[in-house]
Subunit: 142 residues, 3 copies
């Protein structure tokens, strides 16, 4: 995973890479957009707390593929108001690896429930050989 | 194509997978967002009917790559109002394979024409060897 | 990179392909959504000028991976008003290769700054062997 950082254009506004190049022959993980809901159905009010839950969910999903948040190639994030961007970005900066993934952030009108302020979707990649699930509780896949 | 279903997080709200893992070496098909317009230019009024047309169009596009709706890895769907979600989701549930693909659904402000209520975009994948077009009318590609 | 163009469905509204098929074994470049901001921080007012800057930025990013705008597989574009679609589409038509990439266009509520009218995100691909950076100023990567 190689960051694409041309010196000729304005540097990223925040902690993300302008682009990420993947070599051929990687496994890919496409995740569903995650919302800020806990396993017990609780939905925290703040955008930061919702985003933290999204990344926690994403880590669990990627773990099933033997990947971690460090393997994220691109994040597509959606918030329902510009006021929620800071909470989302603080959470993203706390969760992504280095170099950070590519990232797109847009303001939309809403999600499946009105309580949700942020939705986070990722694509991740890893070499074919590293397949052992990351979660210690998980049984080996093969 | 392997569904990623961690037991530690809340189960999907509906018929989609939290994540899909693709092994290395797959062909990929990236589709344009499809809108609910028929070959003759007709645009049905309902979200369900529009979504059905989107999936019908997607099936035709994927067929050119020797793929079907069952090969969809992730769906990104956009609706213009929360009221249109049910129609979209009913259509999705009727069209996707098992395990279902990853899925992201957001409410946006609109599409190229005001009549459109839903737009559906997919990524699909299939092994390199299965290349014969799925549509029976299609000439073999090579 | 093969365009997927089923004759059974309505032809694309504009200069894009309904789908693009990638063979296995390609390198992939995932770019962050680009906004219409110049290296000096200037943000032009018009959607066309902003979109031109986006494509210029994308060309620089892809160049770091030895790719050009002709290697774009799919464009995801977001505008803040239907009135900005023409400016975006004119820019896209002027910048994409032939066959054109897949494309999705939706209207959203906004981006990181209120001045921005369009955001453009791409995925591109190229064979493993073609790795020499495209920008003449760039040092060879290896």
């Amino acid at each position: 995973m190689k960051p694409l950082a041309p010196s000729s254009i304005r540097a990223p506004f925040a902690r993300y890479s302008h682009g990420i190049e993947l070599p051929a022959g990687q496994r890919l993980a496409f995740c569903s957009g995650q919302l800020g809901i806990a396993a017990d159905g609780t939905i925290p009010e703040g955008a930061r707390e919702q985003a933290d839950l999204c990344f926690s969910n994403i880590a669990a999903i990627l773990g099933e593929a033997g990947m971690t948040l460090k393997d994220i190639v691109r994040i597509n994030a959606y918030v329902t108001d510009r006021a929620h961007m800071k909470g989302y970005m603080d959470s993203r900066d706390a969760h992504v690896g280095s170099p950070p993934p590519a990232s797109t952030l847009v303001i939309v009108s809403g999600f499946t429930l009105p309580e949700f302020k942020v939705e986070i979707e990722v694509v991740a990649a890893a070499p074919e050989k590293r397949r052992k699930p990351v979660r210690s509780k998980s049984a080996p896949q093969f």
